[in-house]
Structure formats: structure tokens, C-alpha cells
Symmetry: C2
Subunit: 333 residues, 2 copies
């Protein structure tokens, strides 16, 4: 295992210390129980947004804490759900009197622990709603998950719901926007290599030098099939078609096209994939009106990528365009 | 070789097509001779900024084209200097009547081809000045380079000189700011693994499973020494101390601390490195007043990172903070 770390046990704690030192005006980091909150939290009169999950997917979620997006992120150990304790602490820290929305990727541990935390917060008088993100079309049930997994579409939900909260929508409205985005977003991924979890010390799965895993999850969970390495255009087609057929997306739709790197894939390769995806959408009469390309939901150093397509309307577009100021997404402010 | 590409010969051309499709309002991509320019180029009455070099270091330079930073970027083949032709084309495309500054990383091929291009542009009546970036303290002369190499400090020069041009400074003043930043910025890097150039098909160098290369260049050129894998804190110390001793940086200085990923290193690891670097600077009485953490000057999928320290004053700080709108850096607008 070749990593830029000290003790594998301290990876998350030391990284969080780095986040605190790197972004002092933007976020406050609480070491125990570990959570990251907006430096100006709680924002009075605004719905609070909390997300979280296992670490190793950075910048998700800590990199999306700030104006116009999340109020707090709760990082668990690498690839492991956070316990209810830090989720409760984060929920209390961001409660500005208008309630808190939990944005939860659909993994069994995450869902259970966020539910428990919501009950505990409610017992302290904080109204909590949750949206469970399940945008991955690759498999129905999988390792760690009943139903579809939550993957890169989470970023789009955090941004758009965050903008709704920032403009002053109430808890019901913010939750409804988040559910609407989840209903209109679809993703699927591919792995070329496996990630290595620091405390495990070995790659999460084995994969041949000439093999790729189609429909991979962000923790290296198995996907739909393993095939031989192919040209990028064919790989894109293999994951884009199931995405488009699932909603389904149709001619005349306006969409946000998001090509997400899983960590170890160079940006030139992501743009090659974006190019093919944009061509396929154009051929089908689907208009790409917003775009995102880069490493936003990663799986440590795994080489691979995912494609996410979100059907837009005027409201979602306006919320996507709204100002945001976080470590990993920043514009308009 | 496991890459998300089609034909290795088409990597740069197809990636550029992806950039054009992903950022249509921001940049215009010319396929032949290949260059990326601001969508609103030329900006009349503003000094134009052009940078470039081999591809494979993305987002450098194309990701930094836009308001407040570069007017154009000229991507060569992977790890290979662009020829004079596209540099001339980019220079002409961004000439708004106030002259053009070339920002050139110190590699022999880059320097020669930018010089030739400057002569050709001058023959067409465009005034051109150049700043040669040589921030890498690792080695004096190296493969491809006489003198020190230009590495991650280039991003800071492009941002700060770009802000000076955007506020209306004339060519002499913009060049002077760029030279000033180059005089006050120092960098050094480390590799854990080697990158593979697509058309080569093999790793650029061989390195043992328990070895790291201290002082690596961004094309995998040899550095100062090869040592066994160590804890992150010790690795940071190995490259930070030569940086601090070189300028030298001293107690009371205010600095921008930039921890740059080389492509394949997870963000958690970059924050662990940032944490150690910030601690060392604090112990020496050096104030970290601005920060940057992420993959900005990469070497394809190489695992590794570099540290860059820039001594700030009020003017440089104000220019760093100035609004910027590019694919890879965006704030204040």
C-alpha cells in the first residue's frame, strides 16, 4: 500500500485537521464527534442541510459545506457510515429554527444511522426531514444496499436543495426540491482499478490488467458485469444508455451532464468521456444546458468515472446557477 | 496501460473537443493549430496572457483560461512542448492592442518555441513579453531543463498576473508582477508512482513498491533522491524545508500555502500533507494567510504531490483575491 498518510487509524482525523487549517473562514471542524459545519452556522431562519457518509469520497461531503449548499457534513471512517452521535451533533449545530434536511446516500448503514439521529434530534425539538438518494441505475440491490445506491447525483441534490434553502424555502419545500432532483437524476459508473482502504492495506477487489467493472459502486461494490478494456467511447456508451433508458430521458429534454472522476483518472480522460457523452445526447435530441466535469465523488485513488444526467427545468436550472461558496464548488460570490 | 481513451494519438484532440463541449460560454477551442481562448477574446485594451506547454498536466493550462486569469492556453502533445505555430495563433487571438505576456514554464522546448513565437508575433506588430517560471527548488539543471524547472507555482503567477491585467495594468506592469511572483514562489514535489504517457504505453520510470522519488518533476524527471516510503509528515518535511531555506522564508512572513496533487493522490491525503505543512510554518512564525489544496498541476495519474509557498504582500494578496472565472478556479464572480 503506497499512500501519503501517517498512521492508517488517523487518516480521517488528520485530514479533517487539514481541512480546518486550509479553510478557516469557510468551515469550522469539530474533532469529536467529527463533523464539519459552515463557519457562520447556525444560520437563523434558514433550513439547515446535513449530509454525510463514509470518508474516502472527497470532496463529497465536506467540500460542499458553505453558503448555498450544505450547512454540515458528517464524515465517517473510510467507506464506513458515521454513527448517529456526530449526525445529531451536526444537526443541532446547524438548526436555525426552521428545521433540518438530511441528505442520505442509500446505503443501509447510512440510512439507519441518519434515521436514529433524526429521532434523537426530534426528541430535542428539532424537526428533521430526510431525502434518500438512489440515483445509481447499475443494480437494484447490492452489497451494503437495499434498492439502488446513492452516488454522484448526490452533489447535484446538495447544490440545488442548498440553493432552495439559501433563498428561504421552508423545510417542506426544500425537501420537495431534493426529492424532485432525486427523481430526475440517474448515474452509472465504471472502474478500471480498485481502491485501497488505508486500514485494510489491500485493494478492495481484484481486477485484471485488461478488465473493467461496469456499474461499479463508489466503495468498489460489484456492478453489472466485468468486460475487457475497451475504447473510451464504447465504455461511455455502456453506461450512458442504461442511464438514458431508465428515466427515460427523451428528445427535447434539457439536462445537466456531469462526468465525475473516481479519483485516479486524469482530467484529459474525463473530457474524452464527456465528449462522447455529449455527442450521444446530441444525437438523441437531448440538450446539454449545464455541465460539470471533475473529481467530485471519488473512491480514494480508484481509476474510473461515472456519468450523471439530471433532467432540468427552469426552476432547477435557476437553483443550480445560484451562488455557492464551498471548498469544492464556488461561483457567483 | 489502463486508460479511458480511444486512440492514443487522439488523446489531446478529443480532450479539447470535450473542453469545448463542456465550457461553451467560457472558452473557444480552436482545433488546428490547437489552442484554447477566452470566449470573449480579444479583450480590447487589456494585456493578453498566454501560457502553454505539454498536455497531461490538466487543469494546467486550459482550465485557467477565462476572466481574471489566462486569455489563452496552448496545449502541446502529452508531455511535449507546443510548436511555435499554435503559440503565434493564440497570441494573435488575444491581442487587444496592449500587448501579450507569455507565461512559460522553464523547459528547454517550451522556452525555445515561445521565443520563436514571440519573434513571429512581433513581426506582425504584436508586442510580446515573456516570464519564465522556475519555482522548483529540487534540482538546478535536469532532464529537459537548463536551470530550475517551472512547476506548480505557475498557477499562482497565472492568477496574480491575470488579475493585474484584468484591472488594466499595462504590459510592463503585468510582466513586472509576474516576475515578482516568480521571485517569491518556491516549490518541490514527490512521486509515489509513475505516470504512463498514452502513446508510450509504459510507465515513464520504474519505482519500487516501497520507494518514493523526492524532488520529482511534473514529467517524472528524476529529483534529488530516492528513499523508502515514509509517513506523510516526514515526506512533507523533506520537501518543505528546502523550499523554506531557499528564498528564504522567515518568521513574520505572510504566505500562500499551496498543496498540489499530481493526479492520482486522494484529497484526504493532500489535506494530511497540508496539515503538516501548516504546522511547520506556524512553528517557524510564518503566517499562512491564503491557501490552495487540490489537483491543479498534475502528471496524468501519477500519485504524488508538491508543496508551493508564495511570499505575499498586500498587493499580491489583493490580486490573488480578485475575481476569477475559469473552469478550474472560480470565485468572486
Amino acid at each position: 500500500m503506497k499512500k501519503l498518510i501517517n498512521d492508517p487509524k488517523n487518516v480521517v482525523a488528520e485530514a479533517l485537521e487539514g481541512v480546518a487549517l486550509a479553510h478557516p473562514g469557510l468551515v469550522t471542524v469539530v474533532a469529536d464527534p467529527a463533523h464539519i459545519v459552515r463557519a457562520d452556522a447556525p444560520v437563523q431562519g434558514k433550513v439547515g442541510l446535513v449530509s454525510g457518509g463514509g470518508s474516502g469520497h472527497e470532496p463529497l461531503h465536506g467540500g460542499f459545506v458553505g453558503y448555498g449548499m450544505l450547512d454540515a457534513a458528517v464524515p465517517g471512517p473510510v467507506f464506513t457510515s458515521p454513527t448517529p452521535d456526530p449526525i445529531v451533533a451536526a444537526t443541532k449545530a446547524v438548526d436555525g429554527g426552521k428545521g433540518v434536511l438530511h441528505i442520505v446516500k442509500n446505503y443501509t448503514g447510512d440510512v439507519l444511522n441518519f434515521e436514529t439521529a433524526a429521532d434523537l434530534a426530534l426528541a430535542e425539538g428539532i424537526e428533521v426531514r430526510a431525502v434518500v438518494v438512489d440515483d445509481d441505475v447499475a443494480v437494484k440491490d447490492s452489497l451494503y444496499t437495499a434498492g439502488r445506491r446513492g452516488v454522484a447525483g448526490t452533489v447535484l441534490i446538495e447544490k440545488i436543495a442548498g440553493a432552495a434553502a439559501q433563498r428561504g424555502d421552508d423545510l417542506d419545500a426544500v425537501a420537495a426540491i431534493a426529492e424532485k432532483v432525486n427523481g430526475q437524476v440517474r448515474s452509472m459508473g465504471v472502474a478500471l482499478t480498485a481502491p485501497t482502504v488505508p486500514h485494510a492495506g489491500e485493494p478492495s477487489f481484484s481486477i485484471g490488467d485488461d478488465e473493467i467493472e461496469i456499474g461499479i459502486g463508489i466503495h468498489g461494490e460489484p456492478g453489472r458485469e466485468r468486460v475487457g478494456l475497451e475504447p473510451a467511447d464504447q465504455i461511455v456508451d455502456r453506461i450512458l444508455h442504461p442511464i438514458l433508458e431508465d428515466l427515460p430521458f427523451a428528445s427535447g429534454d434539457k439536462v445537466l451532464l456531469f462526468v465525475n472522476g473516481m479519483g485516479g483518472t486524469p482530467l484529459v480522460e474525463l473530457y474524452i468521456a464527456f465528449r462522447r457523452a455529449a455527442h450521444v445526447l446530441a444525437e438523441q435530441g437531448i440538450e446539454v444546458s449545464r455541465t460539470l466535469v471533475g473529481n467530485y465523488v471519488t473512491s480514494l485513488e480508484m481509476q474510473g468515472f461515472s456519468i450523471t444526467v439530471l433532467k432540468l427545468d427552469d426552476e432547477l436550472t435557476e437553483l443550480w446557477d445560484g451562488p455557492v461558496q464551498t471548498a469544492a464548488l464556488r461561483w457567483g460570490r
